[in-house]
C-alpha cells in the first residue's frame, strides 16, 4: 500500500512534536524513520497507525480496490496520483500500479486504528502475558466478527505458517515470560503479520536487544521483507541500523524532516548540518566565502573556489575519512600537527591540530602496511578535504522560530571549542 502524508501536525501541550510533515511512501518499500529522541519519529509512526490523533494534516492510503474490500467500501475515496516532489523518489516507484483504473486513494486521517488494518510492533513488544505464543499470534484473527472469522483449524494452520516464517516453530505452547528478547520480538512480528496488514510499522524494533541478537535480527528482517514484500516502516535512532536495513531513510529532527533519500543519498550528500552530524562525526571548520573564494578562518591560502556559494561566514563539513594526506607542494592544504593516534581494527585515527586556527580535526586513514610512513605524535602533516559541504552560518541562527536549536548549538559549540 502507498502512503501519502501531507502537512501533519501534532502537539503535546506546548511541545510541537510534528511540524508539518510531508512524506510519500511507496508500496513495498522498507523505510527508516531516523532521528534522535524527541525528533518526532515515533509520533509519526503512531500517526500512520492511527494511534495518535492528529492536530492537522492528512494521511492517505492508496491501494488497488478489491484487494482490501472492507476498507475501500467504508471509506471515502478520491483518485489522484501522489505528487512526487523534487526529492528522491521512492526506491520502488510503481506507476503502473497507481495507473490502474481500480486504484484508489483513501483518506485515512479519521479512520480508527482498527479500520486502518496496520501491523504495529511495539518497542517493548506488548505481548499478552497471559496467552501462549499461539494465542498471541491468533489474537488478531480470533477477535474478528463471527462471519469474518476463520475457523479454528484455519487459524491454527495460519499461526503455524507464521511461526515457521519467524523461525519459532515448536514454541506455540510457550508463554511470553519463557521467551528470550529476540524470540518475543519475532512473536510480536508474527502477531502483527497474522492480520495481513496493509503496512508493517515497527517502533525501535531492535532497541531492547543486545548487540549480537540485534545484528542477526536485522539481517533476518531484511530477508523477511524480501520474501513477504510488505510495505515496512521502522523507527530507529541508530544510523547504522537505518543505513543497513532500509531502502530509503527519512532523517527527522525536532518535528521536521531534514532529509529523505536512499541510504546512499543521505550518507553521500547530507542536505543539512544536522544530517551531517547525525550520520557520523564530521569535522566542522569555520570559514568564510570572499569574492568567490573559500577561506578557512585563520588561514591565508584559498582552500577552493567556492562556486555558487553566497558570500559570508560558512561552516565546512567534512568527514574524517574524506580528508586526504597530501605533500608539501599542495599550497591549499591545511598544515597541522599530529597530537593523537589511535588504531581501531583496520582504521587509523589521527587527531590533528591545525596550525592556522588551532582547531583539532579528526582524520581516518586505512591502517598503513609496514612500508608506509607511520604517524607519530608531533609529526607535521598536510591534509586536504577530498569532499566537503558548506553550510552558511548566518542562516543557521535565523532558521529556528523558537530561537533555540540544540543541533546548531552543538556545531557552534564545537566550532568554538576548537578555536
Amino acid at each position: 500500500m502507498d502512503i501519502q502524508i501531507r502537512g501533519v501536525q501534532k502537539h503535546y501541550g506546548s511541545f510541537h512534536a510534528l511540524r508539518g510533515i510531508d512524506l510519500d511512501i511507496a508500496s513495498g518499500e522498507l523505510l527508516a524513520l531516523l532521528g534522535p529522541s524527541g525528533s518526532g519519529k515515533t509520533t509519526l509512526l503512531r500517526a500512520i497507525a492511527g494511534l495518535e490523533p492528529l492536530d492537522g494534516g492528512q494521511v492517505k492510503f492508496g491501494d488497488i480496490e478489491g484487494e482490501r474490500s472492507r476498507f475501500a467500501s467504508t471509506a471515502r475515496s478520491d483518485r489522484e496520483r501522489p505528487a512526487m516532489d523534487g526529492r528522491a523518489g521512492p526506491a520502488t516507484e510503481d506507476y503502473s500500479r497507481q495507473g490502474r483504473p481500480d486504484y484508489r486513494w483513501v483518506d485515512a486521517t479519521h479512520l480508527s486504528v482498527q479500520e486502518r488494518k496496520v501491523g504495529f510492533v511495539f518497542q517493548q513488544y506488548a505481548l499478552f502475558k497471559h496467552m501462549t505464543v499461539l494465542d498471541n499470534i491468533a489474537f488478531g484473527l480470533t477477535v474478528r466478527p463471527k462471519k469474518e472469522r476463520p475457523d479454528t483449524a484455519t487459524i491454527n494452520k495460519r499461526v503455524r505458517e507464521l511461526l515457521e516464517l519467524v523461525q519459532l516453530g515448536g514454541l506455540e505452547k510457550r508463554y511470553p515470560a519463557q521467551l528470550s528478547g529476540g524470540q518475543k520480538q519475532r512473536v510480536a512480528l508474527a502477531r502483527a503479520l497474522a492480520i495481513e496488514p496493509r503496512v508493517l510499522l515497527l517502533d525501535e524494533p531492535f532497541g531492547a536487544l543486545d548487540a549480537k541478537v540485534r545484528k542477526d535480527l536485522r539481517r533476518w528482517l531484511r530477508s523477511l521483507h524480501r520474501e513477504t514484500g510488505y510495505t515496512t516502516i521502522f523507527v530507529t535512532h541508530d544510523q547504522e541500523e537505518a543505513l543497513e536495513l532500509a531502502d530509503r531513510v527519512v532523517v527527522m529532527n525536532r518535528g521536521v524532516i531534514e532529509q529523505v533519500g536512499t541510504t546512499d543519498e543521505v550518507w553521500e550528500v547530507p542536505s543539512t548540518p544536522f544530517v551531517y552530524d547525525f550520520l557520523g562525526t564530521p569535522n566542522v571548520l569555520p570559514a568564510r566565502v570572499e569574492r568567490g573564494a573559500l577561506l578557512l578562518n585563520g588561514a591565508t591560502a584559498t582552500l577552493a573556489t567556492a562556486g555558487a556559494e553566497p558570500e559570508g561566514p560558512v561552516n565546512v563539513y567534512t568527514r574524517p575519512n574524506e580528508l586526504r594526506v597530501v605533500g608539501d607542494d599542495d599550497a591549499a592544504a591545511l598544515a597541522g600537527k599530529v597530537i593523537e593516534t589511535q588504531r581501531t581494527g583496520l582504521l587509523l585515527r589521527l587527531g590533528v591540530k591545525l596550525l592556522s586556527s588551532g582547531d583539532v580535526i579528526e582524520i581516518e586513514l586505512p591502517h598503513p602496511d609496514p612500508a608506509v610512513q607511520r604517524w607519530q605524535i608531533g609529526d607535521g602533516i598536510r591534509v586536504r578535504p577530498s569532499r566537503y559541504s558548506l553550510f552558511p552560518r548566518a542562516v543557521a541562527t535565523a532558521a529556528e522560530e523558537s530561537g533555540y536549536d540544540p543541533t546548531l548549538t552543538v556545531t557552534e559549540h564545537r566550532a568554538r571549542s576548537r578555536v
Binding site: F122, Q124, V143, A177, A194
Partner: protein, 299 residues
C-alpha cells in the same frame, strides 16, 4: 504448569536460608529477632483471636450453636451479607472505572479524583455515618424527596448499604491503580491495532492482566464490608432483627452480658476473616507462576 518456571520460583529459598554469609547474624541475634517477632505476633494477634473462640466455646458446643438459632442473630448475619453483596459489586464496578480512567486517560481533575478515592480512608467512619444522617435524617435535605419516592433510608437497610459502600469505597480502586499504572496502555493499543473492539480489549487483555489485583481488592473489600462498625452504627438505629449487622449485634449482646452469644457471633466474623486470608494465600500459592508473569515488566 511448567517445571522450569516452578523451579525458578522456588530456587531462592534454598541458598538464602543459611549460606549467605554476608547477612548471617550471630545465632543469638537471629534467635532474638525471631522470638521478638513471634512473641509480638502471638501477644497482639493470635492470643486475642484465640480468646474469641475460647470465650465462645466456654459453655460447650451446644451453647455455641444455640447462639446461632436466635432469629435476631440470624437476621444480623443476613443483613451483613446483604450489605456486603450490594457494596462489593458496586465498588467493584466503580473501582474498575476509576482505575481505568485514572491510569489510561489524561484529564483535568485527575489528582482530585485520586485524593477523593482516599477520602474514606482518612475520614473517621463515625463521621462517614453522620454524613448520611445529615442527608437522610429527619431534618436532612434529601429526606423529603427520598422518603416520598423510595422509602426510608436512615435506620433501614439502604442506609446501612450506603454507609458500607462509603467506607469500602477505596479498596478495589486502590489495589488496581498502581498495577495498571505500571502496566501502561501498550497491551491495549496492541489489541486495538490487531482489530479488537474496545470491549474485546477489556475482557481479553485488560481484565486478565489485572485479575489478581482485582481479586485481592474484592477480598479486602468484602472483609471490611462485613466487619464495618462505626459508620454502620451511626446510621443503623440498632433496631433488633431489622437494622443490626453482625458487628452491631455483637456489641448489643456483649452489653447485655450474653458473652457466649456475643463471642459466638464474633467467632463467625473472625472465621470469615481467616477464610479470606486462607483463600488469598491459597490463590497466591496455586498461581504463583502466573502472578510472577503478570508482574514481570516487558514480558
Amino acid at each position: 504448569m511448567n517445571h522450569a518456571v516452578k523451579d525458578a520460583a522456588f530456587l531462592p529459598f534454598e541458598p538464602l536460608k543459611q549460606t549467605n554469609s554476608v547477612i548471617n547474624e550471630p545465632r543469638l541475634v537471629r534467635w532474638l529477632l525471631i522470638a521478638a517477632a513471634l512473641g509480638f505476633l502471638s501477644l497482639f494477634l493470635l492470643l486475642p483471636l484465640l480468646s474469641v473462640f475460647v470465650e465462645a466455646l466456654r459453655k460447650g458446643a451446644g451453647a455455641y450453636f444455640a447462639a446461632f438459632s436466635d432469629p435476631e442473630t440470624l437476621a444480623s448475619i443476613k443483613l451483613t451479607f446483604i450489605a456486603a453483596a450490594i457494596a462489593v459489586p458496586l465498588n467493584l464496578i466503580f473501582g474498575l472505572c476509576a482505575a481505568w480512567a485514572i491510569t489510561k486517560f489524561e484529564f483535568r481533575g485527575k489528582q482530585l479524583l485520586i485524593t477523593m478515592i482516599d477520602l474514606p480512608f482518612s475520614v473517621s467512619p463515625v463521621v462517614a455515618g453522620l454524613i448520611f444522617v445529615l442527608i437522610f435524617g429527619a431534618q436532612g435535605w434529601a429526606q423529603p424527596w427520598f422518603g416520598d419516592h423510595l422509602g426510608k433510608v436512615l435506620f433501614a437497610t439502604p442506609g446501612i448499604v450506603l454507609a458500607t459502600i462509603f467506607v469500602t469505597f477505596p479498596f478495589i480502586a486502590r489495589e488496581l491503580i498502581p498495577l495498571m499504572q505500571e502496566q501502561g496502555t501498550e497491551d491495549e493499543q496492541a489489541a486495538l491495532s490487531l482489530g479488537a473492539t474496545g470491549w474485546q480489549t477489556f475482557t481479553r487483555v485488560t481484565l486478565p492482566n489485572i485479575k489478581w489485583a482485582l481479586l485481592y481488592g474484592v477480598l479486602l473489600c468484602n472483609a471490611r464490608a462485613t466487619g464495618e462498625f462505626g459508620a454502620v452504627s451511626v446510621v443503623s438505629g440498632h433496631i433488633r432483627g431489622l437494622t443490626n449487622t453482625m458487628p452491631l449485634h455483637i456489641e448489643i449482646l456483649y452489653n447485655e452480658y450474653q458473652f457466649v452469644s456475643a463471642f459466638a457471633v464474633a467467632s463467625l466474623l473472625a472465621l470469615l476473616a481467616m477464610v479470606t486470608l486462607a483463600v488469598k494465600s491459597l490463590l497466591e500459592w496455586r498461581y504463583a507462576d502466573q502472578l510472577a508473569a503478570t508482574h514481570r515488566s516487558g514480558g
